[in-house]
């Protein structure tokens, strides 16, 4: 070891190991050099400690303390955002699941062959006119496609909907017999109207002795005296 060895400075500053300390202790020149370094380091330390040290400005200290108060508060901004994000994720998952299962259920209902060509064009309706004579007329039948339901869950029996044949229609109900004005070609009975039940539609009654005989004046000036 010589005077240019960094271990000499480390020894003077109390950072060297015991092996370096033994080497220096055995050499008087190194010991004197280490003492010089130690003395100079003490003077330098005193000068550097005496150098002025300025604090933060008052508003800077306040900003730091305010940041500490916010950080130690009940919830940080990112914690609140995390909670909101978790709730939004739950809602999105629930919506996604609902859409998925709805689509899966609808995919089980498939049209077999569009509109059924063999379906009847019309159905026959039987009814009675005002004279009690039975009448029979064809009525256009709906052309909805035949749909076969294939549920994904176990079902007691597969549901199959088909258009009914005209001969299998139930007979006309008696309630249909009291529709005289709807019969084409028949003479409707005269309608008797009770005047008491007819609304006036803003017009005055025809009775001149009525207390309401004088015409109403709305928005006009009273007669001059």
């Amino acid at each position: 070891m010589n005077a240019t060895d960094p271990r000499l400075t480390a020894h003077a500053l109390g950072e060297a190991d015991s092996e370096s300390a033994d080497l220096i202790a055995r050499d008087t020149a190194l010991t004197a050099e280490a003492a010089q370094i130690k003395r100079f380091a003490a003077d330098l330390r005193a000068e550097l400690h005496a150098e002025p040290a300025h604090p933060l400005r008052a508003e800077q200290r306040a900003a730091v303390l305010a940041a500490a108060s916010v950080a130690a508060g009940p919830a940080l901004w990112w914690q609140r955002n995390t909670a909101i994000g978790a709730a939004a994720a739950c809602v999105a998952l629930a919506l996604g699941a609902a859409i998925y299962f709805q689509a899966r259920h609808l995919s089980a209902l498939r049209p077999v062959a569009g509109a059924d060509k063999a379906a009847p064009q019309s159905v026959t309706v039987r009814w009675a006119d005002e004279s009690g004579q039975p009448r029979v007329e064809p009525v256009l039948a709906p052309r909805a496609p035949v749909v076969e339901a294939r549920p994904s869950y176990p079902s007691p029996a597969p549901a199959l909907v088909r258009a009914t044949e005209p001969a299998k229609l139930p007979p006309a109900k008696p309630a249909l017999e009291n529709l005289p004005t709807l019969v084409a070609g028949s003479t409707p009975a005269p309608i008797k109207v009770d005047p008491a039940t007819v609304p006036m539609n803003g017009r005055l009654p025809a009775d001149p002795e009525s207390t309401n005989a004088a015409p109403l004046r709305v928005g006009t000036k009273p007669p001059a005296r």
Binding site: T4, D5, P6, R7, L8, T9, A10, L13, E15, Q36, I37, R39, F40, A41, D43, L44, R45, E47, L48, H49, A50, E51, P52, A53, H54, P55, L56, R57, Q60, R61, A63, V64, L65, A67, A68, S69, A71, A72
Partner: protein
């Protein structure tokens, strides 16, 4: 780990704000930039969940604060070095610094501290950390990112150069004679 409350930060400010501003000022060369760097350092300490906290972590906290303050001060120094000062008109006299500015400036530094300008930035850095803030080789290594061997070498060469400057300086003739006797 829980964020420190205002009383914890007040204690840290009381203990470290002045050493940190002084150290940052040795890097930036300007007081306000040093203060800004130290303010940033404390705010980051408050918000950084990975920062050391609690009793028994004083040395870690100190090293953390000096490390961040050093980086912040270097950032400020680089940013300010890119600013080109506008030349003053010749008919307008330069404003002389007031008494406060003079007190805060370098006018009060001693002749020995002025000699530190003759060292490299790395040498000045480790000398200030060692002798002004009483940090160990290991702590200086953590703060500066240098190896402990490199820290020891920089301290050794820096002290040797500083002693040579003192011997060559006429102002230190008495000092040299007293210590060589």
């Amino acid at each position: 780990m829980a964020a420190p409350d205002a009383s914890d930060i007040a204690q840290l400010l009381e203990r470290y704000e002045r050493p940190l501003v002084r150290y940052a000022m040795s890097i930036t060369g300007e007081l306000e930039s040093a203060r800004d760097a130290v303010q940033d350092t404390f705010i980051r300490y408050v918000r950084d969940a990975a920062a050391p906290r609690g009793a028994g972590s004083e040395k870690h906290i100190e090293a953390w604060l000096f490390t961040v303050a050093r980086h912040r001060a270097i950032d400020h120094q680089r940013k300010n070095s890119r600013i080109i000062p506008m030349p003053l008109p010749e008919d307008r006299p330069a404003e002389s610094p007031g008494p406060d500015a003079q007190a805060e400036g370098h006018d009060t530094e001693s002749a020995l501290l002025r000699l530190l300008d003759g060292l490299t930035q790395n040498q000045r850095d480790v000398i200030r950390l060692k002798f002004q803030n009483d940090l160990s080789y290991r702590e200086i290594s953590t703060i500066t990112g240098l190896s402990e061997t490199n820290v020891g070498f920089l301290l050794h060469t820096g002290l040797k150069k500083l002693r040579d400057l003192v011997r060559a300086e006429p102002d230190f003739a008495d000092y040299t004679a007293r210590h060589s006797a």
